[in-house]
């Protein structure tokens, strides 16, 4: 088990190095870093000072070492817009995102698992068809538009729920639904299909031969097995979730990391964006590690390999 976690952690670090290297390379290859790092109205002296400060006059390899050294010490440059270390800005926004993401995940878990199971058990019946249609629609609807649609219906027309910013619980409803929809749809389809496979399996037959109750067969023997593909494909969903927060937080003016990403893009705040990308990678890896541990807990075959 420990070996497994250590290995996962190592893979994560490797990935982080890859991401950091690519971010560095993208900055050098596709534009002049000084132009990217300084505001447009900067004077020639400022440019010169920056070049020296960053060691940009040295060879690329040296620059890379400087960059990595800074990154390891948590220094990813200074945000142009906020005139603060970019990492600090990231952390000031992180808590707000960490409120929204789990809300969407919980929504996904509580909707997708029962619906996925139910549609597998009632394959071809009404429940299955209705939830199948919802899933197909949920996957096809881009969530920025879903967000606006929900605002139009529930804030503009009905006036039931607030349309932006944080506040009491009611502020969470629309963003959570917006962010959670694709997760719900994706999980539901996945759970349904893996549930169908599991229901067909020999060990479920054996469970029935034992004379166990249907509840026991479904909840003990099927569910855990049906969840494995969700855990396997978690990484893909995680990427979608991060993308989703950028869009969702933008739509609802939610002061989190996603909104920050958007701001960095439209204000061309390169140091900030660079920091956000790298920190997002760290965040994703941390969450994936937790999921990996959960995976190992659910599936003993993983624990021992």
């Amino acid at each position: 088990m420990q070996g497994y976690i250590v290995r996962r952690l190592f893979q994560g670090v490797v990935l982080l190095v890859i991401v950091t290297t690519i971010v560095f390379a993208v900055g050098r290859l596709t534009g002049n870093p000084v132009d990217l790092l300084l505001p447009e109205e900067a004077s020639e002296e400022e440019r010169q000072a920056m070049i020296e400060a960053l060691g940009l006059d040295g060879p690329v390899l040296e620059q890379f070492v400087v960059f990595i050294k800074g990154a390891v010490q948590g220094d990813l440059g200074v945000s142009i817009r906020y005139r603060q270390p970019a990492v600090d800005v990231f952390f000031s926004r992180l808590p707000n995102t960490l409120l929204l993401m789990p809300a969407a995940m919980l929504l996904a878990v509580f909707m997708a698992i029962p619906l996925g199971i139910l549609s597998a058990l009632r394959r071809g019946r009404l429940t299955d068809k209705v939830s199948g249609t919802i899933a197909v629609l949920g996957i096809a609807t881009p969530n920025f538009w879903l967000g606006i649609l929900l605002i139009y219906i529930f804030s503009v027309q009905l006036g039931w729920l607030p349309s932006s910013r944080m506040g009491d619980w009611s502020h969470y409803v629309l963003p959570t639904i917006t962010l959670g929809t694709f997760l719900v749809a994706g999980f539901m389809r996945l759970i349904r299909s893996s549930m169908l496979d599991v229901l067909d399996s020999e060990f479920v037959k054996l469970a029935r031969i034992k004379g166990l109750s249907e509840m026991r067969v479904v909840w003990k023997h099927c569910l855990r097995n049906a969840l494995i593909p969700v855990l396997t494909l978690w990484g893909v969903f995680m990427g979608g979730l991060v993308t989703g927060t950028i869009v969702t937080e933008t739509v609802y003016a939610w002061p989190g990391v996603g909104r920050l990403t958007y701001e960095a893009v439209i204000f061309r705040d390169y140091p900030l964006l660079q920091a956000v990308v790298i920190m997002d990678a760290v965040l994703i890896l941390a969450i994936n590690l937790v999921v990996d541990i959960l995976y190992a807990y659910v599936d003993p075959r993983i624990r021992f390999t």
């Binding site: 490797v14 990935l15 890859i18 991401v19 690519i22 971010v23 993208v26 900055g27 596709t30 534009g31 990217l36 197909v136 629609l137 996957i139 096809a140 609807t141 881009p142 920025f144 538009w145 606006i148 649609l149 605002i151 139009y152 503009v156 299909s193 990484g235 893909v236 995680m238 990427g239 979608g240 991060v242 993308t243 950028i246 869009v247 933008t250 739509v251 990403t261 958007y262 960095a264 893009v265 439209i266 061309r268 390169y270 964006l273 660079q274 956000v276 990308v277 997002d280 990678a281 994703i284 890896l285 994936n288």
Partner: protein
């Protein structure tokens, strides 16, 4: 099917279908609602935006942008994936494990973030967008094609070709490539929906084709601020996106089930 046809038709013939320009502003006619609303008229069937541009016209031209971007990025991203998948699967060994590590990395890390990064460093534009979305695609293509190639490698005709002294490159091109084309096509159709959404999302986030060129994502973004007074500005393009994506997804599923049922699990 009908919707896909309609979209392609709209994209190709946009200039002939509408009397208006998608870009020129007609300020006196700004913010008119669609014809079925009280103040709407048949002059602008789906209303006008804040600059008095006809929404329908912009939708039609937007289809064109979407289609071009989608086609190019699928070609680019899919092509890179195809190339990497074949080399990785056929040559195997160290190269294979290295490339697959990269694929894993690409799967873990959301490509949209890189896309945003590129938009800032390279500036907005078609090339940026195509590269960015290509980044989103290649890994998925590479992984599945590689799996196919691994299976093909075991087959007799490849061994036979080797016995006959064909060069590795020749085998890859003449024997492997045609056999993975089916899978490739299925992957392309399965991904069209995702690409359209990605393009729209990037445009929405201000990292797509720069205005005033119409694109659906951008139209949604522009209309967002006016949602309480002019709902049609952002809701209509969104409906267009959803409908098209939905159709392509259903079509992709159907094609997969017909041509390549073993891709089912994906």
């Amino acid at each position: 099917m009908f919707i896909i046809g309609g979209m392609i038709f709209a994209a190709v013939f946009a200039p002939y279908l509408t009397p208006y320009s998608p870009i020129d502003q007609t300020l006196p006619d700004k913010l008119l609602p669609p014809f079925w609303e009280a103040k709407g008229s048949m002059k602008y069937i789906l209303g006008t935006d804040i600059f008095g541009r006809d929404v329908l016209t912009r939708l039609l031209y937007g289809a064109r942008v979407s289609l071009i971007v989608t086609g190019l990025s699928l070609l680019f991203g899919g092509g890179v994936g195809l190339l990497i998948g074949i080399t990785s699967g056929y040559i195997g060994g160290r190269l294979d494990s290295l490339l697959m590590r990269l694929v894993d990395a690409a799967f873990t890390f959301p490509a949209i973030l890189f896309a945003l990064l590129l938009a800032v460093t390279m500036g907005q534009g078609l090339d940026t967008l195509v590269i960015a979305i290509g980044l989103l695609l290649w890994a998925g293509f590479a992984r599945i094609i590689r799996g196919e190639v691994l299976a093909l490698k075991q087959r007799d005709f490849v061994a036979l070709a080797k016995v006959h002294g064909c060069s590795e490159l020749r085998i890859m091109v003449t024997h492997i490539l045609p056999n993975v084309m089916n899978t490739f096509m299925v992957l392309v159709t399965l991904n069209v929906g995702a690409v359209i959404v990605a393009e729209a999302s990037l445009s929405f986030l201000g990292a797509g084709i720069p205005p005033p060129t119409p694109s659906w994502g951008l139209m949604v973004a522009e209309g967002r601020g006016k949602i309480s007074s002019a709902w049609w500005l952002s809701l209509l393009p969104g409906i267009a996106i959803t409908l098209v994506v939905l159709t392509f997804n259903l079509f992709g599923d159907w094609l997969r089930d017909r041509l390549d049922p073993k891709l089912r699990q994906l």
